[in-house]
């Protein structure tokens, strides 16, 4: 059982249980990338042990998406929606 708050830009700080997790943010397709790199991008996840850029859907609220940066070890959110992600890697 994990619990933390996500600051929804529409609804304010709300319990994470109101959101559904949509996984880590992956880079958009790069037309110049090799096929192998593109397949990695599509099918492999970083599963970060640390800071992760990720998206949540406010399912029990305004039903809009928010993007946050969370430390997966502590569930401490280091960048709330709208805040810059800093130098968090989104993909290995």
């Amino acid at each position: 059982m994990s619990h933390f708050y996500i600051r929804c830009p529409n609804c304010g700080p709300r319990a994470c249980s109101e959101f559904s997790y949509n996984g880590e943010v992956r880079p958009l397709a790069d037309p110049a990338a090799s096929e192998a790199a593109e397949i990695d991008r599509l099918w492999l996840r970083r599963n970060a042990n640390g800071l992760q850029r990720e998206r949540w859907f406010h399912a029990a609220g305004c039903r809009r998406f928010v993007t946050i940066t969370r430390d997966t070890r502590t569930n401490i959110i280091v960048a709330q929606p709208g805040e810059p992600a800093g130098d968090v890697a989104t993909h290995a």
Partner: protein, 877 residues
Amino acid sequence: MAGIDFEGTDVPVQQGDTIAAALYRSGTRIFSRSFKYHRPRGLYCVSGDCPNCLVTVDGEVNVRACECAARAGQKVTRQNAWPSADRDALAVIDKLHWALPVGFYYKAGIKPKFAWPMVEPMIRKMAGLGFVDHHDAPRHLERVNWHPDVLVVGAGVAGLEAALAAAGAGSTVMLIDETTPGARVASGPTRAAIDRLTAAVAAVPAITTSWNTPATGLFEGPLLIAVSGDETFHIHPQAIVLACGGREIHRVFTDNDLPGVMLARGAARLAGVHGVRPGARAVVWAEQPEALEHIAALTAAGVEVVAVVAAEGLDTSAVTCEVIRGEVTAAKGRKRVSAIVAAGRTIACDLLAVGSEIQPNEHLVRLAYDLPVVVAGDAAGHGLTLDDAMASGRAAGERAAAGPELYAVSPATPRTCGANGYVCLCEDVSVKDLEVAIDEGFESAELLKRYTTVTMGPCQGRVCADQLRAVAARKNPDLHRVANATTLRPPVRPITLEQAIAGAPHHMERHTALTAKHLSIGGTMMWAGPWKRVEAYGDVQAEYRAVRERVGLIDVGTLGKFLVAGPDATEFLERIYPMRVADLEAGRLRYGLLLEEGGVIIDDGTVCALGDGRYYLTVTTTGAERLESWMGDWAEAWGHDVYVVNQTASLGALNVAGPQARALLQKLSDDPLDRESFPYIRHRQITVAGVECLAMRLGFVGELAYELHFPASQSAKLWDAIIAAGAEWDIRPFGLMAQRLLRLEKGHIIIAQDTDFETTPWKVGMQWAVKLDKDDFVGKAALERHLKRDDRELLVPWTMGAGTACPPEGATVTMNGNLAGRVTSAWHSPTLGHPIGLAWVKRAYAAAGSSITVGGSPATVFSGHAFYDPEGEKLRA
């Protein structure tokens, strides 16, 4: 019965009794039989920590008799014994220790091999505590959220002071306790302080109290979960004060588990709180000053304290009976204590009150790592005086109100352990068992836990964890890590499954506004995602004929419906859909596949251009929820300024289909519906029977058809009007079964029935729905890669000769006896007079005209797309 029904005996109950107190007063000494060896066990901690008093109360298993309030009429039975706990036939196991060595389930009965199937059922039958009545319907318990500034756990002197201090500093406070304040404390200065502080707390409006509310877990957030009767509390404070007290440490010596060996606080609770005489002749083992204070409570209850076994250096000047310096090394007796051995002397007694050192109740504290938590009172350090504990509580409350630092845990070093006796009362693990396991190589506390199951029983380590570490440290004094505390996980207190799933989502069953109507005219319902839809109204063939020959009506209100608008709506949809959207003029609509990034089909539906960059989308019944978040995710990823409004529930939808559909609707509408004014694949805003509708001309079932979308509140009105107007053509409502047959005759696929998680448009012959010359869309790169490969399997339509039985959906496709594919859809076509279907077929056999074997019968791969009306003249009518 006037009192408790205890295994058929009427046991009187006094005011304030727990079940344990009432039973003990009436003479019960054996409260349970131990888990493995069926040794007799009696009251030990009398504080809800140990497993000894677990009983079944009114069918609920493993209830702590020492915590549960006694009530007249309660049915109480003891567990893990046959025929009774007093004369347990399985106690013979206690003489067979050699047959059940430590880790016996890894060893015993495994060789010879044939023995295990006989041994396993016996072990299974004997394992577990209590019998659950499987016919009991589970209750649905609710979850309640609380949001105080400061949460205080434990209403002893420290917790009460902390609550007052935090409230005094301006915080809202919640104070919880697993019992009621003072419930375990006999009269004296501590009890007086608790009573005074409890009254003070009750007078402060900013403090919310909840008694009989044990905490079960502490999580990041912070979130503390507690159970309170039929509710599970999720408490979300800014800061937490843990003032959960301490307990006397479990002491291990020969036969330390005999009934009559009791922790001193427990004996004092029976005597001083419940007025029950815990024994006639007692020895008090005192390792700290508080233990000597209990002598007064015992004496007052009529116990003769014959001797005190005192730790070296303890001040015993006030003790009037004999004092023996040293430790207790053994208890003697068969079913209960008859004597103890200390410093080489044997002293006759029927009660040993163990006043050992106070150990902090560390469970929640150890879960508090990196959380805003302050620890106060005995939970922070043992041996506090009353004044110290109160001061500690005040300081903690003030710190919590100010927003404390994140708490880091430093585990205590273990105490010493005796040479013989039971470390673990839950699972019957003795010192000897642990030493054998260490010799077998399981040397650290963490490995010993897994191998011997010590700390894994109902006490969750409250009794045994410290002594486990002490044994490990003694065997390997040089290996520091062997004595590390074992990992602790919630729940820190056993809870029922009902409590664990409290507040779990209710199962969703969605209905359109027409469900009652469907049921009233004989509709049978089936699941479609979260929806209940009509399967049929009794006669699928008649429903089919009505659509093909006259006119039919189907409730399609479950379709996913979206309004997409905003400055970037057109660009957004151009990237969402693999077909063109930007060139759609207002009033036009287009069929659209939806693909994921791997090029796999995830849904399909239509896009209507409403003009001014606004669009109305439909998707499948099961796809609506998923696609709403899927589209929102892409909008966020691309930074598009676009609104995706899910109108699935607010709009109803009906499809009027059949050659007479136009004639019927024209009776109800003044808007022009003729072929020129309202052609195929167009949409119009029309009024039908006074209801404003967005009407689309679509061809899913292959006839002239109008799909009407309108406010859901108008559903019944519109339905009734259409049925009435259609009477002259004998209109029939049709269900999903007829619809599936009708669309199969048109060769249309159903997503997730005919497609799977690898299905690209190429594999199902839908290249026409993908425009690879578009800039970009989701799945484009993957589809371009797919173009370079040959697909192994293709979805193809097939036909069979008249008179052939229709194979079931899921039937295999074979070629020369080898597996060559599988059927996804199959029906006997009433119009064509033979079976038709769709099947995945290996590429080599998928060419039009190929002969294949479907479900054992000869079939031919069909050369076109639609079996019925291949030119689409009927739907364009």
